[in-house]
Chain length 130, copies 2
Amino acid sequence: MSKKSNLPQPTNAELEILQILWKAGPSTVRFVNEQLSEQQEKEIRYTTTLKLMQIMTEKKLLSRNTDTRTHIYLAEAVQGDTQKALLKRFVDATFQGSAMSLVMQALGNHETSQQELDEIKALIEKIEKR
Amino acid sequence: MSKKSNLPQPTNAELEILQILWKAGPSTVRFVNEQLSEQQEKEIRYTTTLKLMQIMTEKKLLSRNTDTRTHIYLAEAVQGDTQKALLKRFVDATFQGSAMSLVMQALGNHETSQQELDEIKALIEKIEKR
DNA sequence: TTGCATTTACGAAACTTTTCGTATATTATT
DNA sequence: AATAATATACGAAAAGTTTCGTAAATGCAA
C-alpha cells in the first residue's frame, strides 16, 4: 500500500525546481537558482527562486533543514507520483481522458529507437502476464 | 508536406473550447457556452465564453463567419498538431524530454485492455517495418 | 413602431503565478 | 570591532489567465 500523498499539483515553475531536486538531491537555494538560470539561459534573481521554494515548502512539496544558516531543501513530492498525477491531468485536458490516444500519438510522432520499442514490447508482455 | 502552422499554444480554458469545436464542428458561442457549462456542471456566463472565443480568434486559433448576426466559429488549430505540440511541451516539462518515460508511465499506470495492447503492438510492428 | 430578447464589443475586476526589491539577520573578512 | 558578503523573510509589483458587467447594435414579436 503506497501512502496517499495529497499534495497540491506543482505549477510549471515549481515543477522545474522539483526536477532539479529530484536529480541532484537535497540542495541549497543558491544551487537551484544557478541550475535554473543555466537552463533558461537567463539570469533569475536569487530571491525569486527563494520565494518559490518557500512557497513550495509551505505547500509541503518541499521540506527543509534549517539547522545551518544556509537551509537545505528536500523534495517531498515523489517524482513518480507527481508525474503520474500530472499525466492524468494532462491526458484529461488534451486527450479527453484517452491515455491510449496519447500513447499512440507519442509513439507515432516520436523518433523511436528499436531499443525503446523492445522495452515497450517487454512491458506489454509483462502486463499481459498479470 | 504539412503546413507549418505557427499558432500560439492554447491555454487550458482555450483548449476546452477547442475540444468542443473539434468534436462538434463550426458552432455558435451559445452552443459552446452550453457545452462548457454542462461539462463543468457550473454556469459559465455567456460573455465569458464570448470573450475567450474573441481572444482565440485574435490569436488565429479560431476563425469566424460574421455574415449573419450570430457568428459561427471554426477551429483553425488542427487537433492532431495541437495535441502534438502540447504533448511535446508537457513531456519536456514533466519527463524532461523523454517521451519513452511517459509512454512507460502511461502504460504502467493505466488499466490497459487487451485490445488496446494489441493496438499498440500493431503500431509498433508498423513502425518497425518502416 | 415600440419594446423585448439576444448578440457582439470591450474594459476591467478577480485570480493565479511569477518576479523582484527592501529590510533584517547571520556569518565571514579585514 | 567594523565592514562586506550572503542568507532569509516578506510584501507587493508584474504578468498571465479567466470571469464578468455594461453598453451598444441587431433582429424579432407584440
